[in-house]
């Protein structure tokens, strides 16, 4: 496979994952705005920060405003991480790597692009927002379904999955980081139940609220949520799960190519750290520090994969 093709697949799936996660973030923010109209601006500010577009937003709009934030995150072409920009970038990459995709995957991506371009052509009215966001999620599921149902399990598939999980690890870690002040137990919070709305945003933005409730009999604690999103290997959006998947796919590549690369060592180190670490120690050492290290590792790993498999010249 061409290095360029591997890179195209990797980025196609990073962008798809990003668009889905951004849609989930908007959904979480929107939910808060509905339930507590007075304090919603803070929540939108933290959503912008999570999506790593706070500076870009302020440059364009200044003050944080719910409707403008939604528009910026959803369809602004000036925001390269907006849902629509990410879908367009995914499709552009898909065009580039078309020969590596089955017709069904290509059509799913192309359809997604055409549908969302049409649906998001104009600013979305508040009452239509849930429907449009649901559409983004459904379209992502469609592409994923086509990928799983029609693609050969070879190196092409591995690069798609690497992109997905690298982006997901990054996105979940960011959500945790922005919320770390909420999760960080302070003297006053010890023993008290966490603000219901706050933890709901976190879990909702990773589609984990229901699972978490099942596992914890409806009780929530800062440590419990952080543990769930960092260490629970059953949770498909946790850092551990993403790291495991990255490891598995790199191992497939190692077998297919008969060659071990530096990125394999990097992911092993990262996985081992997650295996041996506990949530208590994370909180003792500082959640923010832990997340910062993790994000640095993930970004370094992305760069290493790029070099190991010659995405660029």
């Amino acid at each position: 496979m061409l290095g360029k093709t591997a890179g195209g697949l990797f980025w196609m799936f990073r962008y798809l994952e990003r668009s889905e996660n951004t849609a989930r973030l908007i959904e979480a923010g929107f939910r808060i705005a509905l339930t507590r109209p007075d304090g919603a601006d803070d929540e939108w500010a933290s959503v912008l920060q999570t999506a790593a577009v706070a500076d870009a937003y302020h440059e364009r709009h200044g003050e944080v405003d719910g409707a403008k934030t939604v528009d910026f995150l959803l369809r602004d072409s000036a925001n390269s991480s907006s849902v629509l920009s990410a879908i367009a970038a995914a499709r552009q990459n898909a065009r580039m790597v078309r020969t590596a995709l089955t017709r069904e995957v290509w059509e799913a991506v192309n359809d997604t692009y055409m549908i969302l371009k049409e649906e998001l052509a104009r600013p979305v009215r508040t009452r239509d927002l849930p429907e449009k966001l649901a559409m983004v999620r459904q379209q992502s599921a469609l592409v994923r379904g086509a990928l799983h149902g029609t693609m050969l399990r070879n190196d092409i598939f591995d690069f798609c999955r690497l992109g997905t999980f690298l982006e997901r690890a990054d996105n979940t870690a960011r959500i945790l980081d922005v919320k770390y002040y909420v999760l960080l137990p302070s003297i006053s919070q010890i023993g008290s139940s966490l603000d219901n709305v706050q933890w709901e945003t976190i879990l909702r933005s990773v589609a984990g609220q229901r699972a978490y409730r099942w596992l914890n009999k409806g009780e929530s604690s800062p440590m419990g949520i952080a543990d769930f999103l960092i260490f629970d290997g059953r949770m498909p959006r946790s850092l551990r799960f993403a790291a495991m998947k990255i490891g598995t796919n790199l191992t497939y590549l190692e077998k297919a190519y008969g060659m071990r690369q530096p990125s394999h060592d990097q992911i092993d180190v990262l996985t081992t750290r997650l295996d041996t670490m506990t949530i208590e120690r994370v909180f003792d050492d500082g959640l923010h520090e832990f997340i910062t290290d993790f994000l640095t590792d993930i970004s370094r790993l992305g760069g290493q994969i790029e070099r190991d498999y010659r995405f660029l010249g």
């Binding site: 061409l2 360029k4 093709t5 591997a6 552009q92 192309n110």
Partner: protein, 475 residues
């Protein structure tokens, strides 16, 4: 079809009387509901958009991916008509390859005075870098498209030869695919010669012209200028259908005397490169130094016999419009036979007598730029306004050698489906030929382009043309 048209209609001999090749189709069509067919027609468009069969239009700011309109009424050719055409096409393609070999070696045809020396020497399409180079297998034009027009029952003319990088074959294939999906019953009723093996044959055919030091499994790749090229879809389509890599210049480098592509496992040598990048951009070290689309040094590998480039660099000299007028001589010179396919009478404006005739009859003629393509920079006299004719006259007088002129041909029509039912529109045909060292394969049919605007004679997709599926009937 109300008025008696002065044009030859390929489907209807008279109102409601279909010609023989169309008899079965016409019978079927008459039993169909018009509104149902219109619906199918819209379905086809959705299908094309989903598949992403688009082309990019140069100079169009909005909507950089456009669809070539597809008409659901097929263009039908009988087995007998086709057999005659293929003989003519084969002869012409053989002559083109012999001409190219000659022009880059001994230049016998120039010595014999059959083609003027200055036409070659002062032609940008002639590449001095190709002099004395022997392409692997002796093939210059691995893929050729011969543009044909028809003016009567047995009147076919070659309008143009495409010996560089003929495009449109993806439309030929997707058009058939679409028709098979939409009208399966038609294909059980009417026996149509298949076209679907084009990509498999192309790969075989390219491999047959591989260099002698080729690896046993022969690595073929398609070279594209990239996703912004107007024909990118076709490049990706062909690579995909052949099961080979689609590469860009920056994926390639020269290692150990071979052109190699950057893969996830390191650099892998390529034996045959089907390039869809123009000569000028192919190699910044040997041609345009500004090019970022090509591979520095590929010409040196080529000259050393390390790679097959399809089509060979420098083949443009054979499809140059100034050379075109000499094609009957060229065919005769190399094959010893009279050309089976006729040329359209052509005035070379470089010749003073011809120029004065052209200037006197500008409103009757079609004038083309010698090096132009895609329907850009041409004048269709009868369809042009006075202002356009006057402006063109100035351009022509300023650089007569840059132009040729031809009579406005009474192009045949084939009906398209409109809101009001069938309506005749002018068509041309581009059959595709694959050339191997030991012969050639012509895919039955080719790409039919149709001018969708009533009365228009310009079929180019960039100028409002559409396409049709082309059927060659079984014996």
């Amino acid at each position: 079809m109300q008025d008696k048209s002065p044009f030859f209609d390929e489907m209807l001999a008279a109102e409601d009387t279909a010609r023989v090749p169309y008899a079965d189709y016409h019978g079927w069509f008459s039993g169909e509901d018009l509104s149902e067919l219109r619906k199918k027609s819209i379905e086809a468009e959705t299908f094309f958009r989903r598949t992403g069969i688009t082309f990019n239009v140069y100079g169009a700011a909005e909507a950089d991916e456009r669809l070539i309109p597809f008409d659901i009424v097929p263009r039908i050719i009988s087995a007998r008509e086709w057999a005659r055409l293929t003989r003519g096409i084969e002869q012409r393609v053989r002559a083109i390859n012999a001409f190219l070999h000659d022009i880059y070696h001994r230049q016998e045809i120039l010595r014999a005075g059959r083609v003027p020396v200055e036409l070659i020497a002062r032609n940008d399409a002639f590449l001095p870098q190709m002099i004395g180079v022997a392409p692997p297998g002796g093939v210059y034009t691995h893929i050729v498209g011969i543009d044909l027009v028809r003016t009567g029952e047995n009147e076919f003319f070659v309008l143009e030869d495409n010996a560089r990088t003929p495009s449109g074959v993806s439309y030929m294939l997707e058009n058939r695919e679409t028709m098979l999906q939409m009208f399966p019953e038609l294909f059980t009723r009417i026996k149509v010669q298949p076209v679907q093996d084009y990509p498999v044959n192309l790969r075989r055919s390219l491999a047959a012209s591989a260099p002698t030091d080729c690896s046993p499994d022969c690595t073929v790749a398609v070279l594209t200028p990239g996703i912004h090229n107007s024909a990118y879809y076709e490049h990706a389509f062909l690579a995909d259908q052949m099961g080979v890599e689609l590469v860009e210049g920056h994926d390639l480098r020269i290692t150990d005397g071979k052109v190699a592509m950057r893969t996830t496992e390191g650099y892998k040598p390529i034996d045959v490169l089907y390039r869809r990048v123009d000569d000028d951009f192919l190699d910044p070290m040997n041609f345009n130094p500004e090019s970022t689309l090509g591979v520095p040094g590929i010409m040196d590998v080529y000259r050393a016999g390390g790679i097959t480039i399809a089509n060979a660099p420098g083949t443009g000299i054979a499809d140059d419009k100034a050379i075109y007028s000499y094609m009957p001589d060229i065919v005769e010179f190399y094959t010893g036979e009279k050309a089976i396919l006729k040329n359209v009478p052509t005035w070379r404006c470089s010749e003073p007598e011809a120029l004065s005739y052209v200037l006197d009859n500008l409103t009757e003629l079609v004038v083309k730029e010698v090096h132009g393509s895609g329907g850009y920079g041409m004048l269709v006299g009868p369809a042009a306004s006075k202002k356009e004719v006057a402006a063109f006259r100035k351009k022509l007088q300023a650089r007569p050698g840059n132009y040729i002129a031809q009579p406005t041909l009474a192009l045949s029509t084939v009906p398209i489906l409109t809101k009001a039912g069938l309506a005749p529109r002018h068509v041309d045909l581009r059959p595709f030929v694959q050339v191997r060292p030991d012969g050639c394969t012509i895919t039955p049919g080719g790409l039919t382009r149709v001018a969708l605007k009533k009365g228009s004679l310009v079929v180019n997709s960039s100028q409002g043309g559409g396409t049709k599926d082309t059927w060659v009937l079984e014996e």
